[in-house]
Amino acid sequence: MIRPLILGWLFAVAVATGASAQSPGRAELIAGLCGNAAATGDAGNRILASAGQPDAAELPWMETVTSALLDRQLKCAADPGQTVVDGGGAVRNAVTLEPASAPDQPKVPVLNLKNRAVFELAQSALRLRVGATPSVRRQALTALGRKAASVPVEVFEQAAAGESDAGLKAEIESTAQISALNSPDIAKRIAAVERLASTPNRRVQTQIAALLADPAYKSDQKFRLAVDAALIKVGQGILLGDVLSTLYNGLSFASILFMAAIGLSVIFGLMGVINLAQGELIMIGAYVTWLTQEALKSIAPGLADYYLFIAVVPAFLVTAGIGVLLEATILRHLYKRPLMSLLATWAISLFLINLVRVSFGTQNLQFLTPFYISGGVPVVGDFIVTWNRLFAIAFAAITLALTWFVVNRTGLGLNIRAVTQNRDMAGCIGIPTRKIDMMAFGLGSGLAGLAGLSLSPIYNVNPQMGGNFIIDSFMVVVLGGVGTIGGTLVAALGVGQVNVLIEPLWGAVAAKVIVLFLIIAFLQWRPEGLFTAKGRRR
């Protein structure tokens, strides 16, 4: 191991000392490549070692001859100066890369398995440094990553320093750390361990834990201390990441629940009607989103990526329109009979499910994943802020703000609140209660449509999807209390968080069971829910 390194170093020094030194160095290397197996191996190791030198001037040449050797395009002559590279449609002198003629009776060196591995590694290392495109360099990095331990650390350091692509640079650095972990220099190893520990996740934990079995862990106290400290730090980071990740998932689930429940809550508060078709309005919102996407694809492909924003208006209008229609034709007659309205809305949901099934089929819809909701940002540990969930959360927050504004700051909202508190009195002072009912039903239905839009990038969209949300959102309404935005928000957050907290412990079913029992128990204490609308109720 030492000899090639020294040779490589000598070579590097030789190259670094001046351009005039290049030709003898090159010729010497070519001689090695054309020599016997041992000489070829030495040359390979020298190339590998020089791939880490700061000066990249000589590297493209090395890359050319290494690739030529691997592809059996290097044709050796007795004199290294006459050896040629015969490939790519041209015959070039191997030392100068000037056009040349092929030697008589050339010898084509054949690599043995051991040497081939060395040269492949050297080729990847060289390509990582001087590859023409990021994709070539990324490919080289992947190849190197598999054998990071046998690659000189300097290769990664220099490659990272010279890399222009930010994403690739981060990847190179991470691979470099793994390489440094196995460096023969103990100080470098300690530094690598500490650097690794600064980005705690499960992969890093496995890597560091593997060092516990390393001989250096027993023999070197400094190294042992560094590894132990790093393990503790990584463990804490992972724990923090898991906690944050759970909270984040809970928040995103809660935002969906909130979106599904807020419309239900407004309608229930106003008319005492639980709309069992709310889940289907969510489904229709998602279908309208999909139709918008398809329409954009054919009319304005450039805008197709922005369908999630463009669909806001149609998703709201279509579902609100359906809501108004249902209110005007069916539910209007059932306000005095809330239990019958349950049956009627169930029948409507059955109708809508089957209508969509007949027109679109039962398969899941395919949604584009626009750039702004793909991927995420790793924060700490294994906690990644994924953009699609953040989109749902932000969407719910905006909806919350708008709903609050409509209910508390507009004339319609004032009327809705008045009718919610006392229908007869509101009617007496001239509020058109029937019209308010219809508009509020439209508002609640439109909010369900928006819920469908916001969950379409996360959940499967098919005719049956409404049933998955509806019971959870009922629970949110029952827990939060009728017709209060605050109650719905708090209840959605509570139900969402409790669900994701219990899920990893006992499973999703147990989470649902426990949430239901918690809600029933809670109603013992506050039968009207968390926040009761002030006012006289029946």
Partner: protein
């Protein structure tokens, strides 16, 4: 007897049921009345019992349960467990779900279920306990109306999720099937089918007469009063908690009996009986037939299920549309169901009008 059969439609229904028993006993299994038809009639009778159980609390007490499938399923599951254990002890065939899970022995809670009286007691006992606990916490905190309906629906939904798990020892998502013997008789045989159908109809008659006696009694008047104006009843000094709780538990037990009768006849039980849709359909039967009339519940169960049997074979795509249209029509135009349509409106002398039902 006079009050019992004072209502002509009720008397006619009982007579019809009795006639059905005689016809099945005489002609069952012949080409006139094939075993398949006998079996279908038996299943319909079980559904009719289920509808009566819901009508008892919804029609007469104003409490809509959208989770009555839970009690039906408890009865059904215990019956299935009894049948499997019984079949196993006679034939030695290990139930499918145990082979599937790789279990050699029955779980502990299956002990003694081959004994029918114990199984019956267990089914009714578990049902009564579940109903009591859920009813007590709900009625005590005055959870009623739409809230109660929604929470009962969530209860049956959660139970469905629970039963879909394979490790509970209740057959998981495949449920339980492959019953070979009922009380020692082979399940598929005409004689057994006739026997089960006759028993179902006899139980239906008994349930109808029992419920009729209940709703025409003083308690029945209390029930209707609690339905129409619970606050007034309470201010008059009547407690409603124990009244509601007792009728609720009774209704649950009747639903469990329906489940016990249903499962041996249909030959399978799986978590789908716990789906919120089935529980809602029970309410649809009652609403279609006529809430607050025992006759109506039976007619509704028979009519909707007969329509379903026919249409889900003839035009399965159309059935959901027909059902939803039927429900909207009933709810909007005939709030008292088919009895409205037929003009057979039963006018109770002492009971207040049905229009105030919440």
């Amino acid at each position: 007897m006079k009050t019992l059969f004072a209502d002509k439609s009720f008397a006619a229904l009982i007579a019809l049921c009795a006639a059905a028993v005689i016809v099945i006993a005489l002609f069952g299994g012949t080409s006139l009345l094939t075993p398949y038809m006998v079996n279908a009639i038996g299943q319909l009778a079980a559904f009719a019992i289920l509808a009566v159980s819901l009508d008892l609390i919804w029609g007469y007490l104003g409490i809509l349960s959208l989770g009555h499938g839970l009690f039906f399923a408890i009865g059904g599951y215990v019956a299935a467990m009894h049948l499997l254990k019984h079949s196993y002890e006679v034939t030695g065939i290990v139930p499918d779900f145990m082979q599937f899970m790789g279990w050699k022995e029955f779980p502990l809670y299956w002990a003694g279920l081959s004994n029918f009286p114990y199984a019956l007691l267990l089914a009714l006992g578990v049902t009564a306990i579940v109903a009591f606990v859920f009813g007590y916490v709900s009625f005590r905190s005055k959870v009623g109306g739409v809230y109660f309906a929604i929470i009962s629906q969530a209860l049956v939904y959660v139970a469905m999720l629970l039963m879909f798990r394979n490790d509970t020892g209740f057959g998981g998502n495949n449920g339980m099937t492959g019953f070979s013997l009922v009380f020692g008789w082979p399940v598929g045989q005409a004689g057994t089918l006739i026997g089960m159908a006759v028993v179902s109809i006899v139980v239906l008659i008994a349930v109808l007469i029992g419920c009729r006696l209940l709703v025409t009694s003083r308690t029945g008047r209390m029930m209707v009063a609690a339905r129409d104006d619970e606050v007034r009843l309470r201010s008059l000094g009547y407690g409603t908690l124990w009244l509601k709780l007792a009728i609720w538990c009774l209704s649950a037990v009747i639903a469990a009996i329906a489940g016990i009768l249903y499962v041996p006849q249909v030959g399978i039980i799986n978590p789908r009986v716990l789906s919120p849709e089935l529980s809602l359909e029970i309410a649809v039967w009652v609403a279609v037939g006529g809430r607050g009339y025992l006759t109506g519940a039976v007619i509704g169960a028979l009519a909707v299920n007969a329509l379903k049997f026919w249409l889900s074979a003839a035009a399965p795509e159309v059935w959901p549309f027909i059902l939803s249209g039927l429900v909207v029509l009933i709810v909007l135009v005939f709030p008292n169901g088919l009895l409205d349509l037929a003009g057979l409106k039963w006018k109770p002398r002492l009971l207040s009008s049905m229009g105030g039902a919440k």
